[in-house]
Subunit: 365 residues, 2 copies
């Protein structure tokens, strides 16, 4: 994407800052930083983005500085030494420059060490949490972002399809997720967007959210949830399948949940509240008598983060808008029978929705 | 491992608590929690372990509670609702029970939200950072842990060997790491122990710490760093290779760094200080004239965490002891020539060391 895209994003931050009368924002959330810098970092790397009305500085570890200078549109790159306790000393210029200051931070997930450091250095500063505002800037996707997300969803589809083909009775759960992960990476995914899991039989209704060495067998439902990160953007898809025969109860559960998922997707359009979408799914599941076995949200937005706005859950008032991307994933976890969840990625369009994931939704793979 | 193993670990925590006069420890570090509970969690899951002299309680998300009840040796499992802002309300019993309290926390990485919550609920409590003490409990490995780590190192070797065989001119960096990751997962690794990377040519000396779509070609050095997690324990190995011809400068750099790495490994024995081991590597690299191109530590301990004690770096005073497991990984990053790093895992034995990784160390794969 062109540098102008990132400058426009920074302008939106500066408008938010003006509205909240902030002098400086210190961003530490990985998704925020990628959104504004576009720079891919190793998942273990830490960096900080400083934004004021006139200035923008990117603070990275010494090991990352040459690459940042080569690849990042921001030209003011500062490096901190990774191996000294006082690694934030590079911020001292700012501490000396101002005495009293209003600072925006992405607070909830900021680590204690950094919060404490800032608090000591700027004892008179007022700290304001801007995590929600920064997250909200990312909920409506641009055409360029949607093109990347389409490719990310396509990679998830491809991996899901090859994993479903590979799954056979006698295989271990992790052998199937290994295939799914390999296909995503081979197709250019940077990383999985979360730890993929295949939960079979009892593992599905407990639920066990990782792939174990349990062996797949007939008369069990298998739930495979996975996704990749392509050029920074996450995909997410779930299918439920069997590697052989199923019981009538399992078949009925599958048909029921699939119908609820499809009806919920069909309710999507700009202008509807997230809570209403959730209610569509939740009421249908309650009417089927499975109410107490649907223990999670109906869906979530996704983009650079695997979970971002809008969250499709009870009472949520966010209004769906054109060019939001989200999942719809109702699930029912019936002890002794099995679990069924079917999850697709959906783009909100001018007058409705468009499915971004398309792997077949049938019980026998 | 038997329940008695975990009870003995908890006893060591309680001794630490007695020495520091703490009433309760609230552990949030993933490695600590796995060490004491043995329970594998999805990488996105959050949990809390509460330890007092008489009591131990494990606090997990509602979705994880049934599995924790089935699989964990700790029988007092409390669940918190994942979808409410006040999800820590389950700790209220503790807040009501005591007024003034000395609490141990793993502070530096604790998120602000939780710190703030505890601070508000227990305004009169004294908080003490016990992160270092908790980490130190894990540095000497038991025989059972060493057996698991051997298997983890073996998986890393196998993946490295297959990746080296697969690497050919014209392949993209990420296609090679995809093979390495797949082999690890297929062999039973839970996850990679960090984001593996292959950095070729310029990417190696920048350095770029992820695998990109850059194509491999002759006359470039390729640095592949990877590892897996097997039954909770990390492996970590690096090899430098070429997919064709190399220049005399590249050959010499390779031979030099390999010799430094081997000499550093040969210096390992119980009783030596970590800083001395680092000095062995650093002095040798300086004598070769590469001093300014060795920008990182010489090695690090590993176990449940990919980086834990002892850290083999400048001035570190930790004394190596029997049954510590660590890496030795000197590296030289020469602009215009290439980077060479060779990393192996080593077990400190009664009278010296034992190599845990054994993939051939030669420039042409």
């Amino acid at each position: 994407m062109d540098t102008s895209v990132f400058k426009e994003r920074i302008n939106r931050v500066r408008k938010t800052m003006a509205g909240k009368e902030l002098d400086i924002c210190i961003l530490t959330n990985r998704a925020s930083i990628r959104y504004f810098t576009s720079l891919r970092m190793n998942t273990a790397a830490f960096s900080i983005l400083l934004i004021s009305q006139d200035d923008i500085k990117y603070v990275v570890a010494r090991l990352d500085v040459q690459r940042a200078e080569r690849d990042c549109w921001i030209k003011d790159i500062i490096s901190f030494p990774e191996d000294t306790p006082d690694y934030l000393q590079v911020l001292n210029d700012f501490f000396n420059q101002w005495n009293r200051l209003r600072i925006g931070l992405e607070l909830p997930e900021l680590n204690y060490e950094m919060y404490h450091y800032l608090h000591e250095k700027w004892p008179k500063a007022e700290f304001t949490n801007i995590a929600d505002e920064m997250g909200r800037l990312r909920t409506i996707k641009s055409d360029a972002e949607i093109a990347i997300i389409r490719r990310s969803a396509h990679i998830a589809d491809k991996a899901m399809q090859q994993a479903l083909e590979a799954a056979k009775p006698g295989m271990k759960e992790y052998e199937v997720t290994a295939v799914a992960r390999y296909v995503m990476l081979k197709e250019g995914a940077e990383n999985p967007s979360f730890e993929p899991f295949l939960a079979s039989g009892e593992n599905s209704w407990l639920p066990q959210r990782y792939a174990s060495d349990k062996v797949l067998q007939p008369f069990e439902l298998n739930l495979l949830d996975m996704g990749g990160i392509y050029q920074g953007y996450c995909s997410d898809i779930t299918r439920t399948f069997s590697v052989g025969e199923t019981t009538p109860k399992q078949k009925r559960l599958f048909t029921d949940v699939l119908r609820v998922q499809q009806e919920t997707i069909q309710s999507l359009r700009p202008g509807i509240r997230a809570g209403e979408v959730d209610f569509t799914a939740r009421r249908a599941i309650e009417e089927l008598g499975y109410g107490e076995y649907f223990p999670h949200l109906t869906g979530h937005g996704l983009g650079i983060d695997i979970h971002e706005g809008p969250i499709i859950d009870k009472g949520r008032t966010d209004i769906l808008q054109k060019n939001m991307v989200l999942t719809i994933e109702p699930g029912v976890y019936l002890p002794g029978v099995g679990a069924v969840r079917i999850e697709d990625m959906v783009l909100i369009t001018e007058d409705g929705y468009e499915l971004l994931t398309c792997t077949k939704r049938n019980l026998i793979s």
